[in-house]
Amino acid sequence: MNIADYIEDIYRRQAEEFLACDAFQQLESGEAPREAYDQFIGNIFRTHQNSPQFLAFLFSVAPPSAQDRVAHNLLEEMGIEEEGGESHPQLLTQLIEGAGLAHQVSDLEEAARQAMREVICEPLLFGSLREVGFAAMAEVFSFEHMLAHTSTRIATMLRRHRGLDDDALVWFSHHSEVDIVHAQEALLTLAETAEYYDFDFDEARDVADLTLRENVFIKRYFDPRALAEARHLS
């Protein structure tokens, strides 16, 4: 097994775990109260507000063979890859406004800033940017992969049970199944990064295992309690 296959296997299992967790199942069945949908939408907004900054970091550590790919991803995220493009944070604001939650935007933006501050202040477990970069890549790209396989289902759920229209759901269509190429490119970038920085398989696997110990989709889109329930740790 190569490292891309190993990490893809973790991504796939975690995406399945996300779709199967009680919190998502309740949303998808329509049984959840309206506040649960609003909370979910707010959590998606907050989780992805900082994506341009994270991608900018990944661009800095990407190997030469992957730099164009990551740059393309970053520019697209910022909405400047093509004329008239919209940044993904703007599309997330569209989601929030479409859900009638515009009054929460400043609080959610502040929460995203605080989350970024926590990430930056947290002592580094690894000894160099080589490992930190690979770990960050493994986590950030997990969302690319997961969204490519679940965003259509999430959008359908929000359309059906929360009454959101297509304009509000544009962010999901940008990450939908048609974006599966992006997800594959992310795995290629991970493999190239491991090779360029001389990770052997065991080391790359250990860094990936440490980084992806938690299901970040459940943790970020719901909360740590939902994660504990999904893993029978509650």
Partner: protein, 379 residues
Amino acid sequence: MKVVGLTIQPLRIPFVERFQHSLKDRAASDTVVVRVQLEDGTYGYGEGLPRPYVTGETVETLVTHVSEQLWPALVDQKIFGDELLANLSELIPTSTDDGPVRAHNSARCAVEVAVVDAVLRSRAMGLHDLLPPTADSLTYSGVITAGDLESVARRARQLMRVGLSHIKVKVGLEDTVERIAAIRKELGPDSVLRIDANAAWTVDQAAEVLQALEPYNVASCEEPLAPQSWSDLAELRQRVSTPLIADESLVTASDAQQLVAHEAIDLFNIRLSKCGGIGPCLELAAYAREHGLGYQVGAHVGETALLSAVGRHFAAHLGDARFVEGSYGTLLLTEDLSRTSLRFGHQGKGTLLKGPGLGVDILEERLEGYAVGRLEFSA
């Protein structure tokens, strides 16, 4: 300065993964946070982790003891900031032998630390002023819990990847020698490897295992026998060369005296919650020094940033702890309570804390989010 309000909040914070040893399989942190309010409006936070298999305490006994004993003893009493710890040892004495509870130490720790935090904040001081550091930074240990041979070897490799050189392994469940051999193989010869049996063995079993482990250079063995088996521990110490550490056997000052009187131990494991807070722990460290014993500054599994902060101040103040544990933060908890992480970094390094009070800012919304109960008292 007087305490005019007190809030008790038992919390349940899920772990990232299970933590197993011979006495307990744990998936969430059962901890209790106490918040006190001074008459000038200043708040302070403390934490205690009641463990039935250590002090005999439960969350319920902690709540009852704080409600019925410690709060009435403390409310409206004048607290003198200049001799704070001595003053608190009078106001909130350690109490022992209360039915199944050997000592209400985690309850006392939670209240003592909260008052210390509040009083220091009120005086614009930090715990580093009360416990001046004698070390520049600390090196924390990693822990490997129960699991099959493959999973413990993988965990050992992961701990190596993050530069940890002090590793403690929970043993006693099964295959101890094979597990240690597998771990030593992954770690190489330079890592400091120690074991914790959590009271799993008899004297003969312990002697047999420790002798079999000699080729693997085990730096110490923690709590090999049933707690408070003073004579057995002394006998074991005569039969093996591995230094022995007292953990569950060291809960009270009387335990420390027994250990010394029986020449039963090489090191104390001093844990804040287990031993009753800062004041009693300072006394235990002084007692160990006086009798030529070493000590490690230990931690309870599931401590939040509150006790991580106090443990860091305490260990930095002592400066000569053989091993330091704790500050696992989000390596174990899915979320911690502080605004800034107290988790150790690469190579287990923990920097000194300089802020007011305990040096850690607690996020009230997280505290509320994980609370499974709340009791409030006011003067």
